[in-house]
């Protein structure tokens, strides 16, 4: 049996850990962007419909749309935060 250098082994393990953090960051942001995107689009579409039906309430509908989208975007922001943590704060 060959003996493996302990420091080289440690370096390799460190590299693998960082590498899996990067993969995790990518998948986290990718899948995390899925739900908010569809949800915000749904909100926007319904707001278009609503404004066409009752145009006099436009500013109210638009305000509600923006608030709703901001709330539904928060999960996207969480996954962004987690991805940034995974990229910069691990290892």
């Amino acid at each position: 049996m060959e003996t493996i250098d302990a420091t080289a082994m440690e370096l390799l393990a460190n590299g693998i850990m960082k590498a899996s953090a990067f993969l995790g960051a990518g998948i986290c942001m990718g899948i995390g962007a899925l739900g908010p995107g569809v949800g915000e689009g749904f909100v926007g579409g319904k707001a278009c419909e609503g404004i066409a039906r009752s145009p006099e309430n436009q500013s109210l509908i638009m305000r509600t749309m923006l608030v709703g989208q901001a709330v539904s975007e928060s999960t996207g922001i969480y996954s962004l935060v987690i991805a940034l943590l995974l990229i910069f704060a691990t290892g």
Binding site: Q58, S59, M62, R63, L66, V67, A70, E73, S74, I77, V81
Partner: protein, 305 residues
């Protein structure tokens, strides 16, 4: 009108024919016909073109470091005085990135050019102000009254004083996004650098909160945040500025990279014109409008109960 269209088409066709003829004559795509002046007489030669896409793109991303490492000649196009001024300035103040002066210099020079364009337009329109308006005056009055309508719709009559702010952001951004189409070496959209959109986004957040305090009073303003979900609200407020900035930056930078890569793939024949039209005019105008409208809507969300 029809005559003008035909003229444009004719010019376009002539340019196309010249371009295709040049490509055919030069024979090889990686070579280009150049006029050289050797030993007192002019000569047409086939000179190889060095277009290194990889270097070009990496310059896009880390141009400060790239220029410093390669010992690349600085492309400052005869404005040494301005360059030296910025070099001195950036020794003392740096905000983001490398403290090398060339990136700062390019960005600030482009911003100055944009300001100059806006000031010139403003001066020309203002000088010829009449009761019976000229065509540019009609255009700008129409735009201004349109934005006046938007502000009145979303903020109400009391806060109509926000129109100049909103309209200034719109004009600045639309000139910024379109100035990259001018084919002069060294021209780029200032919004392609993250610092400009981020600065504008921070400004928007600042204006939103100051307006909210002014309208509701400090107590009413703080009362909005006294909920169990307070940390999330704070993150959300910060995310507004970040997302509004990154949206502008990502769209403009993506367009610039696509134009660069596709142009080099088709050897700069014809397709870049259409791409420039789409990314410069359409995406640039849409993003400027979206940034402005989002700023307005953030204010209107913040001042509503």
């Amino acid at each position: 009108m029809a005559k003008g269209k035909g003229g444009m088409l004719r010019i376009f066709i002539v340019f196309l024919i010249i371009e295709v003829a040049l490509v055919i004559l030069s024979g090889n795509f990686s070579r280009q016909i150049q006029v050289v002046n050797e030993e007192g007489q002019f000569e047409l030669t086939h000179a190889p073109v060095h277009f290194d896409l990889q270097a070009k793109i990496s310059e896009e991303f880390q141009h400060d470091k790239y220029v410093a490492d390669e010992g690349h000649p600085l492309e400052i196009y005869g404005s040494e005085g301005l360059y030296n001024f910025f070099a001195k300035l950036s020794e003392k103040f740096t905000i983001f990135g490398d403290p090398t002066p060339i990136g700062t210099f390019r960005l600030l020079r482009m911003l100055l050019i944009v300001d100059l364009v806006l000031l010139t337009i403003g001066f020309l329109v203002f000088r010829a102000l009449k009761t019976r308006p000229s065509q540019p005056q009609i255009l700008f009055e129409l735009l201004y009254s349109m934005f006046d309508g938007f502000v009145e719709e979303s903020l109400g009559k009391k806060l109509i004083k926000f129109t100049p702010y909103v309209f200034t952001i719109f004009l600045f951004l639309i000139v910024c996004n379109m100035i990259g189409m001018i084919p002069i070496p060294g021209f780029m959209e200032p919004t392609r650098n993250l610092n400009v959109p981020l600065g504008l986004g921070l400004m928007v957040v600042f204006v939103v909160h100051v307006t909210a305090i002014a309208v509701k009073g400090p107590v009413g303003y703080l009362k909005d945040y006294m909920t169990p979900l307070m940390p999330l609200d704070v993150i959300g407020e910060a995310a507004k500025g970040v997302s509004i900035a990154f949206r502008l930056f990502g769209n403009i930078l993506g367009g610039a990279i696509i134009i660069l890569v596709v142009s080099s793939l088709v050897k700069f024949v014809l397709l870049p014109i259409g791409l420039n039209l789409f990314f410069g005019m359409f995406v640039g105008a849409v993003q400027a409008f979206v940034f402005t409208m989002l700023a307005l809507s953030y204010i209107s969300v913040a001042i509503s109960d």
